[in-house]
């Protein structure tokens, strides 16, 4: 058996892994800073995908260009959702906060998913551009432009996020709030405002991931749960690794899934990730996010 099909599958694993990382960074950011687990994260990703899909279908806007529209659009949605829902639990402490945010986002995911079914039907959609079928061919390995560009876009976005958090004043304030929100408040940081920005940012990042998914793969109202789980798996794998850790863990997951298809076949691809997730959860019982 030649090496090419194997390498091809691994390359595709990397492509999807980049998206896994992209899907995870928003969730990781929100959980790390606000101590909120947004189980509707996948639905926000789905909305981003649909936004790009309609921008493309109705007005012919290229998906990568639509990122400039979808990003701010979902940022705004995130501000609304935070102001309307999650702000009310931000004053709770520890267990209660996580539990309530889990429940609220669960309700939100039900609403968003069913609104999507109502407005756009349950059918699968995908963006097919002029270049969708094209790709580069290196040493017999296919590199479809859509997937390649998707990976590059994800890398770029994550790197930009990393620099934002490391170099800008607001970014540092976000990091400080994640480390110790009381100390940040005592230093003069408007913590509620940081929370709003963080949640909006997380939503925008989910939306960007959604755009990339709708271009390289497909979207439907029901994909939310699967992507929330993917993001969760990556976040748990990455542990304290932060944003870059999430990217790395995403790529790793994509590769691991690809490799596993040789053993168990493509039908169990998702199950491998879920099994890995449960294993990591069980083998690190002291908790992966060391909250003070």
């Amino acid at each position: 058996m030649s090496a090419e099909p194997i390498i091809q599958i691994l390359v595709f694993g990397l492509f999807v892994g980049g998206l896994y990382g992209m899907a995870a960074v928003g969730l990781s950011l929100v959980f790390g800073v606000m101590n909120i687990l947004n189980t509707a994260h996948g639905e926000l990703l789905m909305l981003g995908g649909y936004a790009s899909f309609w921008l493309f279908t109705l007005w012919g806007i290229d998906p990568f260009v639509s990122l400039l529209i979808c990003g701010p659009l979902l940022f705004g949605l995130g501000l609304l959702l935070n102001a309307g829902l999650f702000r009310h639990v931000s004053r709770l402490d520890g267990e209660s906060k996580i539990k309530n945010s889990l429940l609220i986002s669960f309700g939100l995911s039900l609403i968003l998913q069913n609104l999507a079914i109502q407005f756009w039907s349950a059918d699968e959609r995908a963006i097919t551009t002029a270049y969708s079928g094209l790709g580069a061919n290196l040493l017999g390995i296919a590199f479809p432009f859509t997937r390649l560009a998707g990976l590059l876009a994800a890398l770029f976005a994550i790197l930009a996020l990393h620099l934002f958090l490391q170099r800008t004043y607001v970014g540092k304030a976000i990091r400080a709030t994640a480390l110790d929100w009381e100390a940040a408040a005592m230093a003069g940081v408007d913590v509620q405002r940081i929370y709003a920005i963080t949640f909006a940012l997380g939503t925008a990042l989910a939306g960007i991931a959604g755009t990339l998914v709708s271009l390289g793969y497909s979207i439907a109202p029901s994909i939310g749960l699967a992507w929330t789980l993917k993001a969760l798996i990556v976040v748990v794998l990455a542990g304290m690794g932060g944003i870059l850790g999430a990217l790395g863990a995403g790529l790793l997951l994509g590769l691991a899934e690809a490799i596993s298809t040789f053993a168990v076949g493509p039908a169990y691809r998702e199950v491998v990730g879920l099994a890995l997730f449960i294993l990591v959860l069980l083998l690190r019982p002291q908790g992966l996010f060391k909250r003070r």
Binding site: L37, T39, L85, H88, V89, E95, S96, I98, K99, N100, L102, L103, I104, F106, G107, L108, L110, I111, Q113, N114, L115, I117, Q118, L225, A226, L229, L232, I233, V236, A267, Y268, E270, V271, L274, A275, F277, I278, L281, L282, P285, G287
Partner: protein
Amino acid sequence: MASVAAALGRWAAPRREIVRPVLVAIAIAAAAVVPLLTSRPDALNMLFLVFLYIALGQSWNILGGFAGQINLGHAAFFGTGALVTRSLWAKGVPFAAAFLAGGLAALIFALVIGVPTFRLRGVYFAMGTLALAEGLYITVGNLLPGISTLPLELIVHYDLGARYYLALALAVATMLAARALLRSRASLGILAVREDEEAAAATGVDPVLHKLLALALSSLFAGLAGGAFAYHEVSYYPNNPFNLVWGFDAIVIAFVGGVGTLIGPVIGAVFYTLVREELALTLVQAHQEIFGLLFIGVVLLLPGGLVDAWGRVRRAMRRTPRGS
């Protein structure tokens, strides 16, 4: 959570000892009489669904409401019960045995996963159960892709009344089990674990044991509900009862009705089924959105659900002086 405990206390208040059982008996008797008055399949099927949801919602409530462990993968128990019951029954095992085996299978499965996963803190338990249920759904879908249809002789002798009474009996049994749990010595330990697991452990309560007890009852009745589903449906895809939505419906029903209370899931189940039937003709998906909104509303504003809302209305009415 404080209002939930208060609601709980009100339901168990001794002076209502006479009124409540009588009302309950009347309700059950009325439900039992329905198939004698009508044989319309749509009415009987709808009530079947109500009873099924009562059992499903209450079974989730035992673990999620009483013990405070949010289980997002409740469908796994429902599905396991359905799978085992259906498989045995279709092969000729008498239904009663298949039914009990289904419940038992769900119970054993739950205990096997419960022992390791209960080491996880709350939110990780929720994530773990979610992943487990999703994994199970996909796996069953892969292993049993073909539709499951009852053998011809079972279809020919299909008696909707029997299904109806089974579901009614199951709903009553689940309620009795929940009530028994609340009145048992273990209830204090379970509620203590819900409020603060570490504090409970510090006072000598074994959290794992109490959580396992709640999990055992929760999974048993969810599995039996799955068995009832397998009994009722002529044909369905084997992975259907593993669909996570079954678990999500249970959560919504429990919360909207009044999580942590005894009667909450009943109210939630009735309300849910009614709204769904009402809207089924006009806006098909709307009932999910409405319940999603109600759910969020309950979590944010009214933790005691409709039970608590009703209680508040009554208290407000009592405060209004007569003749004003």
